[in-house]
Each structure stands twice: as C-alpha cells, then as structure tokens.
Symmetry: C2
Subunit: 376 residues, 2 copies
C-alpha cells in the first residue's frame, strides 16, 4: 500500500532527477527497468526514446546489433536469449548514436567508449558470481611518480589479510588499450574470481595489483596506444621506480621472483610480456591474455628472453598465453607461438573459443589464478 | 619519431576497439579528445557523430543545453567558459538522445542516467583536487544481509590507518536517490576532500562509510524512491543489524555516540535525518545536505527528536542542514527549519547559492568535515 504522501514523494524524487542529470529540463519520465534478466536466461533491454526513429541493442552475445521495438510510451525494447551465462558488454544504437544504458549503473570503465554490462547467471553461480563467501578487500590507492604525478592503482588483498601477519605473493594485472585501472574488477571481476577460487581452495591467496597503464601526461592523449614503444618506456619506468616500491612498502608481500607474477589483456598483455620476459630475475610467472603484438616487435620486445632461452626456461615457472580462435589477434599470436617453439622457449597455451572479449579474459584469469605460485 | 611498426600498431589497437565495444562493426574513427580543459578555464567538448542532425552539451555550469557545431570529420564541438573551477556533470544531447561522453572515463555512478564529469581546477588546487599529499585508502567491501544478500559498501580510512593502532570516529555518508555507493567518491570526492582537510589539519582523521541505500530485492526496482517508508524500514534494519556491526568488527572505530556521525544528500539526507534524529543515543552528529522530505512526513520521520527536544539538544553535538537557494527543495526545507525553530531543536543552517547539485554537496561535506568530532 502506497500512501498519498509516498506517491507524492516518488514524484518529487523523480523530479529531482532533473536537478541531478541536467540543467533546467523538466523530467516526467516513466520508470524503465533495463536490463531485466529473467530466470530462463532471457534478457529484456529497454530504452526510453519517444522521438527516435530507430533503436537497436549491440550486445556481445549477438553477432550484430538487434533492432528494438517501440511501445506507446516511447520505450524501445527487445527480449533476447536464452543466453549462455556470463557478463556481456552492450550499448544501444539510437538513430546511429551509441549510448550506454542510462538505467544500469554497471558501466565498462573505458577512455574510448561507453558500454554497459549485463550479467546472466543461470542456475549455478559462475566463477565470477558474487557469492556469500569470505571477501577480500579492493583498495583504491594513489602513489606518486616524479614524472607522471599522482597515479591511481586498484589493489586486491585476499580474505583475512587485515587480521594476519602473513606475507603474500603478488600478481600485477594489466588492462587493455583504452581501459582503466578499474576495468579488471568492474568488467573482469578479478576480485570476485579470486574470492571464489580461494574459498574453493583452488587458488593460492595472493595480492593483485591493477595499475593504470597509460603514461599521461608524458604520453599524449591523442593516441590510442597503450603498447607503443614510448608508452612502454614511460610505464616501465613508473612500474619499477614507483609502483612496485609502493606495493612492497605498503603491503605484506613476498619479494622473491617466484612470488611475483605479471599478466595482462590485449595491449596490457603486450606490456606484461615485455616487462616479464625482459626481467626474468623479477618475475617467475608471465601470462598474456590475447596479448597485443606486431611481428616487427617480436625481437625487440622479447630481447632478453630470446637472447637466452635456456636461462629463460630455467627462471620462468610459467609462461602462459591464452587466445580465442575468433580473436583478430589469433593469426599474429599463432606466429608468435611458432617463434617461441623455434627458439625452444617453454610456454603453455590455451586456445579458447570466442574473440577478443572480457568473457575470455575472465576465463583466462580463472585458469592462471589456479596455477600461480604453486609447484607445477 | 614513430616507426612504421608503431603506426601499424596504433591502427591495430584502434581496430581492437571494435572487439571491445561492439560486435562486428568496423571502426576507423578519428581520435577525439573530450573534454579538453584549457588553462584559462575554458572547456572544449567534442562528440563524434557524422550522421547527427543536431548535437548539444548539457553541462551543469550552463542554465540550458548549448548547441555544438560539426566539422568536416563529423566531430561536433563547442568551447565554453571560462568557468568557475569545480567538477560539473554533463552529457550530450544528440538528436534528442542523452549520451555520456564516450571519450571520458569519469562517469557519474547512477541507476537512472549516464552523465560524465568535467573537472576545472584553475590556478589553485580546490579542496576536492587530487594533490600529492598523504592519501587514505578507499576500500570496496561486501557485507552480508540475511534479507538483502551480499551488499556493497565503500569505506575510506585516513592516511596512516594501516600502520597505526589508533581508533577512529566514523561518519556514515549516504548517497542521493538513484545514486550508488560510489557516487560520494566518484562525484563527491569525499576521500580526496578528507585527504586534503586532514593534511591541512582542518579535519579530525575519521573513517567514512558509504553504503548502498536501496534495499533491493526487498524493495522493487520499479520505483525511484530511496526514502519511501518501505525502503527506510528495510535500510534501517540492514544498517543497524549488518552494516554497523560489519564496520565495528572490521575497522578500529570508536563506538560511543560522540564518535559516530551520519550525513546524506537529497534522498540520503532524508535517510540521515531519519536514522540520526530517531537514534540520538547512537549518533552525536547529524547532517542533511539538501535533505529530501515531505511536509506530511515531518512528524513521523522525526518522532524521537520531536517528542523530546531538550533531550535531543543535549545529546546531539551538531545538527546541521545545508541547502542551496535555487534548490527545488529550498521551500520545503525552509518550512522544516521553521518547525525546528518552533520546537526549539537546536540546529545550524548553511544557505548556499546554487541548486540541488553535487557542486554544493562537496561544499557541504568540506564544511561539516571541519566540525565533526571536535569540541564546538
């Protein structure tokens, strides 16, 4: 039962949205729920746009945008699926304009586009599903770089960290091109995957460090490039001079190479290979998730490893590459894997279905998290 | 100097955006920088939309949306200002569709709209400006509710917390209607404001707890209401039964009422008054930032305080209300302040310029943070 004052209050609060969202535009809009995930794994997407001529949803479980239909209130909608349980990025395309879902606060952190996220779970929790198990802490921290200023970093500490005196191994986990320091948790659910794997005794409790990979202001914003040589040089300097000391000063971490891992996705995968393979005295574990690379860069970016494969094999506990068969990078990564074979650099590969997606990224993290810091 | 391979790589990475952002759409788009904040406090907004008929930017330092102009590459832009330094929400209106800025990862966390944030600093750092001072830690945590499931909460601990044995006072800080547990930091910069005030010896080092105020799934998503009676009852139960025990078990906090404060904005301001004024044995400090309220609710929502003004005055160290003169809630809050006067309930007021905005919210937080947990 809603009393008159509650109805009035709802109206008042709906009115307040005007003040929040815009300057001076009256808002009397219907309540739109989107996305609505049903128990049969179908999903309803809705978008309010009375004046639009056409609207579609572009969601990563479909091959191309799917047209939506408008009702008399001006709400466009479509029901899709049933869908294989996972978390999928999506956006609306409204008269040609790409729009994140205004009714969904789950946003893909990125510097180049705005996507929303829809989570379809099905009957069984997945490895990235938030569950009522012991949770670690996800900390948003800042550290200082003389060249780059105050830098953000997101750090996961495992359940029980605060109340223990133990030291933990560390995974440095790098985001993709145009992503931010939040993408690995908001889209990749790194903290939830670790919580679940640790609870199931499948992963060694570890600290996960997720820095921001673009070297602003030394590198201009007018480039997409995360893995350009210039950015790599700046990021490498920041990584070793500022980030690692910050982590090792402020957290109880083990400091031997076998307790230090590096992994990354896409452009960040290229970074992880570059930093890891050139510093086998610092990293015992190196993982690339669909790592970004060019053939012309193989020799330069892998110089230390290529110069001494035997020493590399001796030092690295794990060198792991995962990629999807439909990934645009699959051909170049396949060439790279052949070079590793020719040079007899030991590595594990995992060839999955699917493309260059965060669905695959979560899968790869869940796999390597069960290998890291263990006797293999 | 960019080598051929670096140019190639940039192209490759730009191509990868396709995989990230959409399914199957080729992407060959120019690099767009937006917003571009100039040293003279002017701002350039840019949006790529070659096919759009009209585009405007709706930014909270302007009274209404401002039309943008299209160049030959299909990039719409406008230069505005100089602007009074602050952080302003904005979005684009493209052929009638509201869009967050795809080139800006600073997003306003909200369940009802997508806005971006532009930060204009000027020559002097403001109280919310990220500076190279000691920083606290912002922790994303989860706690469990038997009724509501796993609940998110964002918790600020001041600089030095990790390496001390001290106990700290606690401010519970509530978001507005349709906001999330992240809005107080992403838009309100609560953690940065505290870092700066603590560094300047203007604020007592404190812990700030920023929970999520909507009682899903007990309360339906098909309502905007944060402060409805039903939501208040569910949130109150969760607050006292689960949230406060979680904080007081997992953090070194002082547990007397004079070390516990509650504040909130808009719908969350209404919540803060409801929880605070009805529990003066638990909260010594109660603050409303443009608190949402209806006249019909005054008596019910303030029952304990109104029943015994003398005891309320004795128990509360501070009862503070801030509101802007142009706020849509200014008339009702003015009526409320009259009622407080009539009932002789002691309170401080702060009437600012401006409206129902997060610009005012930051101002109010910076003011009360300098009062909390001090002898007044």
């Amino acid at each position: 039962m809603r009393t008159a004052s509650q109805v009035l209050f709802s109206v008042l609060m709906a009115g307040l949205l005007t003040f929040h969202s815009a300057s001076g535009q009256p808002a009397k809009r219907p309540i739109v729920i989107s996305p609505q995930v049903n128990s049969d794994c179908t999903v309803v997407f809705r978008f309010l746009a009375p004046a639009a001529r056409e609207a579609a949803v572009d969601v990563q479980f479909e091959k191309k945008p799917v047209s939506m239909h408008k009702d008399s209130a001006g709400v466009w909608s479509i029901t899709l699926g049933p869908v294989e349980p996972d978390i999928y990025p999506y956006h609306f395309v409204v008269d040609g304009v790409h729009v994140a879902d205004p009714n969904n606060s789950a946003i893909f952190p990125n510097e180049g586009f705005q996507n929303s996220l829809v989570e379809i779970t099905g009957n069984q929790p997945l490895i990235h599903t938030l569950q009522d198990v012991p949770h670690g802490t996800l900390s948003y921290r800042y550290y200082s770089s003389p060249e780059l200023g105050v830098r953000p970093v997101v750090i996961y500490t495992p359940p029980g960290y605060e109340n223990s005196r133990k030291k933990y191994p560390v995974l440095y986990l790098l985001h993709g091109t145009t992503d931010t320091e939040e993408t690995w948790t908001k889209v990749g659910r790194a903290h939830i995957i670790l919580d679940n794997l640790i609870h199931q005794n499948k992963a060694t409790p570890m600290i996960v460090v997720m820095p921001y990979g673009r070297a602003y202001p030394a590198i201009s914003k007018s480039t997409w490039s995360l893995r350009t040589w210039e950015n790599l040089q700046e990021f490498k300097k920041d990584f070793f001079a500022n980030l690692v000391p910050f982590v090792e000063t402020n957290y109880r971490v083990k400091k031997d190479k076998d307790s230090r891992a590096i992994a990354g996705f896409s452009g960040g995968g290229g970074e992880a290979l570059y930093l890891g393979l050139n510093n086998p005295d610092l990293f015992g574990w190196v993982c690339g998730f669909a790592p970004g690379m060019l053939k012309e860069e193989f020799e330069r970016n892998n110089a230390v490893a290529f110069a001494n494969p035997a020493l590399t094999n001796q030092r690295l506990k794990l060198f792991w590459i995962g990629v999807g068969k439909e990934d645009g990078l699959f051909p170049i990564i396949s060439e790279y894997l052949q070079v590793l074979d020719e040079k007899q650099i030991r590595h594990e590969t995992f060839i999955s279905a699917g493309g260059h997606t965060w669905m695959n990224c979560k899968l790869y993290l869940a796999i390597i998290a069960q290998k890291l810091f263990k006797q293999l």
